[in-house]
């Protein structure tokens, strides 16, 4: 079973007022972001903001995105991102009260592998759109390919259910069928939308293909990311 989620980045009120669909007006501001770790899922927002030319100071060592959201709410951090489910339950109140202004989503993948708008947040632009609108940001080339590779692993295929190697085929089938049954429920879309957002769930062969998509990273992208992590974060990947 392979399923995914999305992510939404948002700004505080001050920066939100300057946001016009591109990062052009944000380049002279300094943002503070609570980062869980340079090599974790936070790699994707970090690289995205870097590509947009934004000046983001990372406070490393946060223990969870929940803590990161609390930092944003108390004003210690000035930019944040959450995965879809936490955004829906935790950050929406901030948006409604005006304290937070949504900036962009990371997007979702269509069947051909293109980045399209996140179905849970159809009104929010994707990073791809914001990048195209921002001076100095390119949606092609090594940086973009790298970002997209890690994005695919990190979000649309974030949740993959694994069984240990050597498990009986009977057990594998039981699980596969159970997942398929859940997906076939008429109210599945409704229930999952409330919790997780509107994301497709793949089972069976599709899930297997998704796995190979998720773990394949081109050599160029690898080289770029290693260099970028070393330069910006001082992390040496062996």
């Amino acid at each position: 079973m392979a399923s995914g989620t999305g992510g939404v980045a948002y700004l505080n009120a001050e920066a939100g007022a300057k946001f016009d669909g591109s990062a052009n007006n944000l380049k002279d501001m300094t943002f503070i972001y609570g980062n869980q770790g340079a090599t974790g899922l936070d790699l994707i927002p970090s690289l995205a903001w870097d590509m947009l030319g934004m000046n983001v100071e990372h406070v490393l060592g946060i223990k969870g995105r929940g803590d990161g959201r609390k930092m944003f709410e108390s004003g210690e951090a000035t930019i944040d991102y959450q995965t879809s489910s936490s955004y829906l339950s935790g950050s929406m109140p901030l948006v409604e009260s005006g304290q937070a202004v949504p900036m962009m989503t990371w997007g979702a993948l269509d069947d051909d592998g293109n980045i399209v708008r996140d179905p849970t947040f159809p009104d929010l632009p994707t990073f791809k759109e914001v990048c195209e609108a921002t001076d100095g940001c390119e949606t092609s080339g090594v940086k973009w390919d790298t970002w997209k590779a890690f994005f695919v692993t990190g979000f649309p295929l974030q949740k993959i259910a694994f069984l240990p190697n050597g498990t009986d085929q009977e057990i594998i089938d039981t699980f596969s069928n159970a997942f398929a049954k859940i997906k076939a429920r008429p109210d599945f879309a409704e229930i999952s939308a409330k919790r997780l957002g509107k994301y497709p769930m793949h089972t069976g062969v599709k899930a297997k293909n998704a796995l190979s998509d998720a773990i394949t990273v081109e050599a160029d992208a690898k080289t770029f990311v290693k260099g970028w992590l070393k330069e910006d974060f001082g992390v040496d990947l062996q």
Binding site: D67, E76, G234
Partner: protein
């Protein structure tokens, strides 16, 4: 004001929801489970809640809540049994209770200690629930005021409790705390993953040491060994009963203390990330600092039981605030609690929406908490008559079983042989610290606070730097906010008062001096460890510099302190208190057995486990110990050993655990439980 008026309908509706027989029944069930879990040392909320988790699927929310809260609320009440009766911290929230509770049991005042503790626990729990009722409405903005500098100051304030618990020679306490901090740092650094005092060759250490193991090792094992050497019963006198009313009267006489400590418990519980294990030390420190007559602390002063027990029940109520309001678990058991909430029938989502959408549900939680405390206390009082009789049994009969339970608790999380090795190692350290009068509470406080202090100091520094770059005032208002200043003042007062009074608080009891050599050797070993730590963290490469700063700072201060001690030792005469050595005391003279042979028994269990796996080793250990050391006949030996093994198997089966494996298991595939 309207805020409260609006809440009243929710309050009453919650009350109505709860007063149904089904709900109360589930609550009682939860309480019973909580009692069982709390009584066993080392088992805590996490083990208990994980047991309940599978049953939460689709259960009716109020019933599921009743079950879970019944369990959580009562654990800080029932953990008192082990702390008072055996000197073994029942859970991480109950460590301070041991300091005065256990000496009271030894004096034959177990009943008095227990009833005072239960009254305090009940009161603390009710205060916690009441506070939660009101506070939860205004909590959000207050919790948000606690940013990194404020959280850092709270942790430092917790550290300052070391001052009062430092013992007769202040520097020893400081070095002990430094040692605890260093041990707490072992493992991967939080910022760049650099390894401190560990290597991937021994992957066990890269995660750091677990609190359960360190807590049990540093407090429980030395007490068990000491009692075993005397080979009498825990209680010095046969007098057990009759202290009941006295205990309750004691509580009433100190009700304001209980109230203050309950408030401390709730407030510290509310602050996310600090961990409930510090709250009882803060309460104990406060109790001592505000007491006029400090003579008896550490020797069996009932106030030393009332303070911590009030606070640790209250903290459960406080801990629910960040959990419910922010979805940030205040502790490990709260993390499971959040997960369980999502599994319940309607799928409750914690977070800011909870108050808007489900206020009556929130208040159900509060009322359930209060009720659970009441039921729990009543049950505990009913049970304590029987359980207290354990203190009259000859210790050689109890010891192997206590040790068995401690070992089980130790490998709860990892099921790794290394858990037992570390338990033994820390236990040995604890024994030596007890012998040479080094403050063990100081060590534990350092251990517990290492992670928060490091994380918050680092976050605060980073953000402060960014802010100072943006403007001088910007930075100053961040770092020196009103809360920080208040906490800073409190900390300084606490340290000053603490150091002045520390001479009177004998956290380790009276320890005479005599003979330079043994204490000196111990100090040299400590210096060796600090030196190793210094070298190790000093060699962390520059790109991981953030992982190096804090450990280096701590190791340097500890080294300076230890060297000062060394110089003092070289200059002082033999009878100076710096050369405390319990082996020279009357306690040692009374002991029938020497230290090393007694220790050897447990080393035996450990080595055997590494060879044959735990259960086989346990069987051999129980039989040989009961026969040879306790001198029982074959019938009794087999009966008791059989009972012990059966009990272990039952526990492991219920909790679905494997036992640590030995060399034998890697060669031969054995069925559970021998695997």
């Amino acid at each position: 004001m309207e805020l409260f008026l609006d809440a009243i309908p929710a309050l009453t509706s919650a009350w109505a929801q709860i007063l149904q027989p089904m709900v109360l029944g589930y609550l009682a069930l939860g309480v019973l489970m909580g009692l069982a879990v709390g009584i066993f040392p080392g088992l805590g909320g996490i083990a208990g809640l994980s047991l309940l988790l599978p049953f939460m699927f689709g259960m009716d929310p109020v019933l599921g809540l009743a079950l879970m809260i019944g369990m959580i609320a009562v654990i800080p009440t029932s953990d008192t049994f082990a702390s008072v009766l055996m000197g073994i911290p029942g859970s991480s929230a109950s460590q301070a209770t041991v300091l005065d509770g256990f000496p009271m049991a030894r004096k034959g005042q177990a009943a008095r200690a227990l009833s005072a503790a239960f009254a305090s626990s009940l009161f603390g729990g009710l205060v916690g629930a009441a506070f939660l009722t009101i506070f939860i409405l205004v909590a959000r903005p207050i919790v948000l005021m606690f940013k990194s500098p404020e959280l850092l100051m709270v942790s430092v304030f917790g550290l300052s409790m070391v001052g009062i618990l430092a013992g007769r020679i202040a520097i020893k306490g400081v070095v002990a705390a430094g040692l605890g901090l260093l041990v707490g740092i072992i493992g991967e650094g939080p910022f760049s993953g650099a390894l401190r005092m560990s290597s991937y060759d021994y992957p066990y250490f890269t995660d750091g040491l677990k609190l359960v193991i360190v807590g049990l090792g540093i407090f429980a094992i030395p007490e068990v060994i000491a009692l075993l050497r005397k080979d009498k019963a825990i209680s010095n006198t046969q007098n057990l009963g009759g202290g009941w009313i006295l205990g309750i009267k004691d509580w009433w006489a100190n009700k304001w203390l209980s109230m203050r400590c309950s408030i401390i418990g709730v407030v510290v519980g509310v602050i996310p990330g600090l961990g409930g294990s510090v709250v009882d030390w803060i309460a104990y420190g406060h109790t001592v600092q505000t007491a006029k007559d400090k003579q008896n602390f550490g020797k069996g002063d009932v106030r030393g039981v009332i303070g911590p027990e009030s606070s640790n029940n209250a903290k459960e109520g406080g801990g629910l605030v960040p959990t419910l309001l922010f979805g940030i678990p205040g502790s490990g058991s709260m993390a499971i609690f959040i997960g369980a909430l999502a599994l319940l029938g309607n799928g409750i989502d914690v977070g800011p929406m909870l108050l808007e959408n489900n206020l009556d549900f929130t208040y159900s939680i509060v009322w359930l908490l209060a009720l659970a405390n009441v039921i729990g206390t009543v049950l505990c009082i009913a049970l304590s008559g029987g359980i207290s009789k354990l203190t009259n049994i000859r210790f050689a009969l109890l010891a192997p079983f206590i040790f068995m339970v401690i070992s089980f608790a130790a490998f709860q999380s990892g099921q790794d042989l290394m858990d037992l090795v570390v338990l033994f190692g820390i236990g040995f350290l604890g024994i030596m610290m007890r012998r040479f009068d080094w403050s063990r509470p100081a060590f534990l406080i350092g251990f517990v606070l290492a992670t928060p202090v490091e994380n918050y100091s680092n976050n605060a520094t980073q953000i402060a730097n960014i802010r100072f770059n943006a403007g001088w005032e910007n930075g100053l208002s961040y770092v020196f906010s009103p809360i920080v200043m208040i906490l800073l003042a409190l900390t300084i007062v606490s340290v000053v008062v603490g150091l002045r009074q520390a001479k009177n608080i004998l956290a380790e009891g009276e320890v005479p001096s005599g003979g330079k050599r043994a204490p000196l050797v111990f100090l040299l070993v400590i210096i060796g460890f600090i030196g190793y730590a210094l070298f190790n963290v000093g060699s962390i490469p520059d790109y991981a510099a953030t992982d190096r700063v804090f450990p280096f700072f701590v190791a340097s201060i500890s080294m300076i302190g230890a060297l000062i001690l060394l110089i003092q030792m070289m200059l002082a005469p033999e009878t100076h208190i710096i050369f405390a050595d319990r082996e020279k005391s009357s306690e040692a003279a009374e002991s029938e057995f020497a230290l090393w042979p007694t220790l050897a028994w447990f080393a035996f269990l450990l080595i055997l486990t590494s060879l044959t796996g735990f259960i086989i080793a346990l069987a051999v250990f129980l039989v040989s110990f009961l026969k040879i050391r306790a001198g029982l006949n074959w019938v009794k030996t087999t009966l008791l050993s059989g009972f012990g093994i059966a009990f272990m198997l039952a526990m492991a089966w219920v909790l679905n655990r494997d036992f640590p494996a030995g060399v034998l298991q890697s060669y031969v595939n054995l069925p559970w439980p021998l695997s």
